[in-house]
Amino acid sequence: MKFTLTWLKRYLDIDKSPQEIEEALNLSGLEVEEVVTIGLPQLVNVVVGEVVKRGQHPDADKLSVCEVNTGGDELHQIVCGAKNFKEGDRVPVALPGAVLPGNFKIKKSKLRGVKSEGMMCSSRELNLGSDHSGLLILEGRPEIGTPINDVFPDGETVFDVAVTPNRPDALSVIGIARELAALFHLEMKKPNLKYSSAPQTGTSPLLECVAVEEPEFCPHYTAHCIHGVKIAPSPKWLQEDIEAIGLRPINNVVDITNWILMETGQPLHAFDASKLRGRKILVRSAKEGETLTTLDEKERKLAPGMHVIADAERPLVLAGIMGSIDAEVDDNTTDIVLEAAWFKPESVRLTARKLGLSTDSSYRFERGVDPACTTYAARRCIELILELAGGTYTGAPYVSGEAPAGNPEIETTPEYFNKKLGFEVGASIIQGTLQRLGISIKDSAGNWTVSIPAFRPDIERPIDLVEEFLRIHGTHNIPASPVKMSGIHTQDDTVATFNTNAGKHLSANGFNECYVYSTRSGAEVVKLLGQTADKLTLANPLASDQTHLRTSLIPGLLEVLRLNQSRGNDPRKLFEKGRTWHFDGKEVVEMVSISFLMLQEPLHRHWHPSPQNDFFTAKKTVHDILGIANFPADSLEFAHLDAPLWQEGHSASAGSLEKGVFVECGILDHKHVSDLDIKGTVLAGSCHFAPKLLRKKAGLASFANFSDFPPANRDLALAMDAKIPAGKVLAEIKKAAADACPDDFAADSVTIFDHYQGEHLPEGRKSLAFAIQFRSAERTLKEKEVNQAFESITQAMTSGTPYELRQ
């Protein structure tokens, strides 16, 4: 909402500076986005001067050195680059100390070695126009030394206020004036109507009837006839007013309706009466297949449910939104029908949204126009038309329905205010403050009945009154106090704790955390998921590379890797924590994910090579993350992974979407990675958790006593087919060991300490060696019993199994 200071002052004797007005509005809830000065601002040390002598600069062809008289005892020497002046011309001169628009400070200086005591100015330099081709020659030859502000009229200050959706009352200059009157304790001067009433009787020949077919949409419709206007350009003041707020002057009648819209907040529409076929106005729903070409020259397809103002034959206006070219007021118009109505906000909003069209009019109707203002605005408008375009107001206005009532009265008490605010304010202060906003209070033994003006549809409840009071009373009056808090028995959500701890773990281990968008390109998600990618499509994406929900964090991390490589950085280990989405065949599941990447070897050389990363480095990192999630990693069985993104034979996964946890790790597909122009072999890992799983309560660990006696160690080496997974053999040995030990001792650890393939073993065979540690809780084990147990394990593992003992 834009308005000028001059316009504002028509309704308010306000002597505050633009800065004070800006601050007051900001602190009362009407946020001033911008204050702009157009025209000449107040300038100090800028005066009328006469060029007494113009000479050539000794060292610069394009510069002249002038002697300028500004009324003082001495002439000023000024170096100038302009060409369009001669000796004897009078021009604006900015003397040292002046500050020109754009915070351009004028100082004594030297130009190419010649001193210059000021500057002669162009129009643009004084904010008087766009001309910068030469000096502004003052044709009227004003007195030498006259301050420039006495030569030109004052500039105009334009405010742009961002009005929140709850405040339709502030979408007019009168509304802003009302607000400022309340803030500064001033009296509003709402313009009086010049004529005491509209014509009471008679009908105008211009219009035969007004029929509102949809009274729920349009409870109040008025139409006024003016005969014999003369269409012409608007007077200068009117043009300046509307141009200052960014509108384009069209003709006197259209400009007046726009001006009244801005003044009162009531949108109006002027029809050329001769274009109303059948001399009829209908307020109706649009019919299937109807079209209308709006004033912006776009053809709009209408549909039932949208409301139009129509004549006997065709729709002419999108009700409350925009007129059509068919009933436009043009240079030949002589008779006018002026519409002032109140339309239901939700309906206007719906239609405007469907058509993707927002106008000054729809913007106000959507938010709620003051229903009590319809007639006043129409009468203001008619008076201006008669004054500026001539013509006669003929016949009584056509009126359908009546203005909707404002909000009902609110019952409250002053104590309620104090309770909500948390500090004491006297009842009379509250009452006085609210009254300044046009809110009236009837007090009956401390119980208040509060009447709300119709222009404030947002005030419905006692709490809304508290806000109004505080807004005007000033938030700086809220007393400072210490924070007082009682304990509440809740813990952080473990999903958040997990994310924090995992992030700290990875960053402490040399990983750089990245943030990547959650929306990805269709091509990428299709590559990962194939057909099911369309299950993750957004309904209304904006950018073509952000059409799908992400199902993996790895592609985003690869992009980061590529970006950093291409910029000559040395990326090695990256990770991201974020949500991913997965289709389970029926529904989409949101998972809490963490993924990481690491280069097998850093690309940049180092005098001291690091240990090379491999599959098992990635696997360990995955295990670390599972541990942080409090998930028993041993319960997951890793198996080879055959999926896009991953290198076959060098990647593995475990778990499943159904289980609520699944992980992947290994080397990323070489081709995929090199197609992305990424150098090096990339290892990666991902962990995905259902939030529910992370929220599972982990009980406190209970202490279990451990043995004071020494362990006995035995090693077992087995040869087998190389394809048999070590994990399977390990599990079998553990079981055999459990079976082999009597009740009073156990094999308390079995680990793989060697894995061998190659010389001394046939092709396709491998050897695994296991360290078994026996221990008793009660005594030192005897050689004999340990040998016996080990023998049983060896037996169990080598008879009737695919394993053979290796000596």
Binding site: R461, Y517, R572, K573, S610
Partner: protein, 348 residues
């Protein structure tokens, strides 16, 4: 005889420095205590001595033997040390860099988030988490923003198609799943499952259907907070904000509440901060968060009695706070992850 023993020890003493290796040591030892060693043969003389002299001589032999062993140990110690030194190699150059010398980092947005959370945690706020794919009900209707509300502009929100189904989530006919535009939905979820008092933070990722530029990002992050109890007042909100701002920006930071509008709070405010230690922004009023008293209609949607309880809510953009704190001028840096950017924020 005694003299012979002393000479022997003296001989060992003077010869020890020439011994530098283990074989030399073995030979050296043999010349004294080997089967033909000088001490071995000297000690044999005991057989010829009269009985009463034997103990004294035996003692002397023993003393000589101990002296020799001490010399051998000293030599062995010296050899051990020399071998270890050879194994360790020449002295290191302590100024050389260590391997894997790129430090890990938490993203500046994570650090800022944790910094904000830390401040509120001290006064008893705990963190709640919620899904990023949400229902329109949780994001709008329950927050007092019905479909017809001007604040609910579909242009700004990412929608999922009508037939989209999320495991464990229900939606009404005609309702859509959306990418959450704020984290307030978490507050609704929390209130719906928990009785007051409630004092929570809901940090997380949000989405806005926005064209990306230096100040706009289609993905962004918020921390929102909610406190509901009996008799929470505007003054309590002001106390909280003053506390937060002093913790985040230093004790000279001032707050200013500008009345504003959000559908889910009444009264609503934008909070500005003014502080002296933000370089270019010092002394200016900077908008950093929206806040207000929870609208009674919101309590209605979660089964709280607005006559019984009241509360405040607040929310801020993590990107914005991070940019202000660190003087970052382009929001896109956060999502590009250039290491030269990430490495600048090594410690919180």
């Amino acid at each position: 005889m005694e003299a012979e023993l002393q000479a022997l020890v003296g001989q060992a003493e003077s010869g020890k420095d020439a011994i530098g290796t283990r074989p030399q040591l073995a030979d050296f030892k043999a010349t004294f205590v080997g089967p033909n060693g000088s001490l071995t043969s000297a000690s044999k003389a005991i057989g010829q001595l009269p009985k009463e002299e034997k103990p004294a001589f035996g003692k002397k032999v023993n003393e000589a033997k101990q002296a020799l062993e001490a010399i051998f140990r000293a030599i062995e110690g010296r050899i051990d040390y020399a071998e270890l030194a050879a194994k360790l190699g020449p002295p290191i150059d302590p100024t050389l860099p260590f391997p894997d010398d790129i430090p890990g980092t938490e993203h500046p947005l994570t650090q800022t988030r944790d910094r904000i959370i830390g401040i509120f945690r001290k006064i008893g706020f705990t963190v709640e988490d919620g899904p990023e794919l949400e229902t329109e009900f949780h994001c709008f209707d329950a927050l007092n923003t019905p479909a017809s509300h001007p604040a609910r502009d579909m242009q700004d929100t990412y929608f999922l198609p009508g037939n989209f189904a999320i495991k464990g989530e229900r939606k009404k006919d005609g309702e859509s799943f959306i990418l959450r535009p704020h984290t307030s939905a978490v507050q609704i979820r929390t209130m719906a499952k928990r009785k007051p008092p409630v004092r929570i933070l809901s940090p997380g990722r949000c989405f806005r259907r926005d064209t990306v530029d230096a100040t706009h990002s289609a993905n962004f992050h918020q921390v929102e907070g909610l406190y509901v109890d009996t008799n929470v007042t505007v003054r309590d909100l002001k106390a909280l904000l003053d506390y937060f701002v002093k913790e985040l920006f230093g004790s000279d930071a001032k707050t200013r509440l500008r009345p504003s509008f959000f559908p889910f709070t009444e009264p609503s405010f934008e909070m500005d901060v003014q502080t002296s230690n933000l370089k270019k922004l010092s002394g200016k009023w900077i908008e950093i968060m929206g806040c207000g008293m929870v609208d009674p209609n919101v309590f209605g949607h979660v089964g709280y009695d607005p006559e019984e309880v009241s509360g405040y809510a607040f929310g801020m953009g993590i990107e914005r706070i991070c940019m202000i704190l660190h003087g970052i001028d382009d929001i896109r840096h956060f999502y590009q992850n250039d290491l030269r950017f990430l490495q600048q924020f090594k410690s919180a």
